[in-house]
Symmetry: C2
């Protein structure tokens, strides 16, 4: 397993299976399911495509690295498959707009389906994906990457839909305006497009990207697979690997969800099992799980990771897949230090999601 | 008065006043009021700007002519003034995208505020406006220009908002898809932006543009001013000039309007004056007046022009300015032959607006 490896390495089908599980957990309920993306990535491999992961150590200072991700509401991408070459068209549109060649792809968001899209695009373009991402998890909006937080301007960006339409957001006065225009346009395009943002220099990526995202997600997936294979507890294995804790076990007793403006918002209420403290809990959702409260008291707050898992299989449950009566474990995993600085918390802390009465405190890391 | 003049000529303030009236009439209830645009255009003149109208006869075959227009819901532009240089930024973005210099500006829509925007942009860019437009009136959507109808592809187009955001619609698979993406994006930008479409060759413009639009609109405005000055009937003067007829005189007895998706839709019901046949009539609206019916029978259908005027002053009344009890005259003016071909009627005839049970017949031209 090439975890945190200093060298360039290639992905195989088994790694894609592990990545599906790891990216699913890091999707934090959102980020869309990686399953369909995995099938497309596997197809690319089976047709002879190479998927190369470039370590941060090997990334040159002046390499042109383009962040790639799908945009739209996760629920749309479950029912509307991609045409397949949207991302490649984005890269070509960017190259044409700027008169450059792109050297490598960066992942915008390792959580959910966006872990797969960069692999597919890079393989088609014959270039590597850097072992990093901009979130270390999933977030609902694009200004919420460490790239944007630490000063990268996403424009000009190029967005392509399954039909063949190409839109270039040539200049946005802020990262939030970029997000706003992209969001409106993706709804007009049918709700599931791919976006390439302006190239970053390799030196910037090494300093400001969340490192080792692919190796971490694959290792996390392998941890779950190994635990299931050896009849161990996958939930405990995830916690041990990621330095997280199990904060709740129970079943879903109420569920509110609303799809609007390209987002799913809502709240899940949970009734605790008596043999694990009992009580009630709630998880507030905007595409991803954002705030965990127990008996009305806030305990874990974004950007720390709130993961809802099937209690028996350790598989992550997407927001869209939550159902009344499901038996779940809720984990809290600490967010990456790059998400915990003051400038990051302005964007991805509770205030960035409109929870102006909440203050982020680091989650407790032992129970 | 330079009507249908074969030479290049310059606009002065008096011509802007006449253009405001003429463009208001040709706005057919929509196209937004030219008033604020006139004030901005006048300011440009007062600051020493030149406004040059280039006759079609003088347009060279290979001139690069960029269509310019404001986009958004008319009602927004009443309350939200332009920053001022949106259109110039559009031209510069287009030049930068294509690596060309733009030689002249074409008007997308002579009806309403979009008569003024090209003058302002061209003056700032130091280039002329061609004496033509793409509609000969106002229409609610962008694929409804003779440019698009007769084969021009609007992409790449550039859209700029008052804030400084620049979006390039690099490729749309159809003119309708272009309209759809632009419409979604302009709502995100606040509802009032300026768009420049891909350059047309001068030869194409001479063949497919509605000719003499500026000279016609200015002459029409002067006709109204002259009638008012000489205590003649302005409504009769308009009809006589444009080959139109007065189809109804009455007052507005009911009014339904709905703003949604960037459009105003609705219906005005009119009660006829007894000394002019009486009866009742209705006008269906989508930004512009589209269908006129008398006592339930359809009489005038888009693309022919249905103009609602103040019965005393001859001033056009915008859809947004219609009020219960207003005393109005309704005129019908014949549309330009370029709007009456089979390919044009597919787009700007009743079917293009969803009236699938209506067939366009040329309006009667004498009462």
């Amino acid at each position: 397993m090439p975890e945190r490896q200093a060298k360039t390495w290639s992905l195989d089908e088994a790694m894609l299976d592990a990545l599906e599980i790891g990216a699913g957990i890091l999707g934090i309920g959102g980020g869309s399911s990686p399953y369909l993306g995995k099938l497309r990535a596997r197809q690319v491999l089976r047709e002879g495509g190479e998927m190369t992961i470039l370590s941060l150590a090997e990334l040159t200072d002046d390499a042109r690295v383009v962040p790639i991700g799908g945009v739209g509401a996760p629920v749309v991408s479950f029912e509307r498959t991609k045409e397949g070459r949207e991302g490649l068209r984005c890269v070509r549109a960017m190259e044409d707009r700027l008169g450059i060649r792109v050297d490598a792809i960066a992942c915008q968001e390792i959580g959910g389906a966006n872990a797969m899209e960069p692999l597919i695009v890079a393989s088609m373009a014959g270039i590597p994906v850097v072992d990093c991402d901009g979130m270390g998890r999933a977030f609902p909006e694009m200004q919420m990457t460490t790239y944007s937080i630490y000063g990268h301007r996403s424009t000009p960006s190029a967005m392509c839909d399954p039909h063949g339409n190409v839109v270039i957001f040539d200049h946005a006065i802020s990262e939030k305006w970029h997000e706003r225009m992209v969001r409106a346009c993706v709804v007009a395009q049918g709700g599931s497009s791919v976006l390439a943002c302006a190239p970053m220099a390799g030196a910037f990526v090494r300093q400001h990207a969340i490192p080792h995202s692919y190796s971490r997600a694959i290792a996390l997936g392998n941890t779950v697979l190994e635990a299931v294979r050896s009849h161990a507890d996958p939930v405990a294995a995830i916690c041990s690997r990621e330095g997280g804790i199990i904060i709740f076990r129970g079943k879903i007793s109420d569920l509110k969800r609303h799809l609007g403006g390209g987002f799913v918002t809502g709240e899940a209420t949970l009734a605790g099992f008596d043999d694990f403290d009992g009580g009630t809990a709630s998880v507030l959702i905007q595409n991803e799980n954002l705030v965990f409260s127990r008996d009305g008291e806030v305990e874990v707050v974004v950007p720390d990771l709130i993961v809802i898992l099937d209690i028996d299989t350790g598989q992550a449950i997407n927001t869209e897949m939550l159902r009344y009566g499901q038996r779940v474990a809720v984990l809290a995993l600490p967010s990456h230090p790059l998400l915990r600085t003051a400038e990051a918390l302005d964007v991805v802390g509770p205030a960035g999601f409109g929870f102006t009465d909440l203050t982020w405190r680091p989650m407790r890391t032992s129970s």
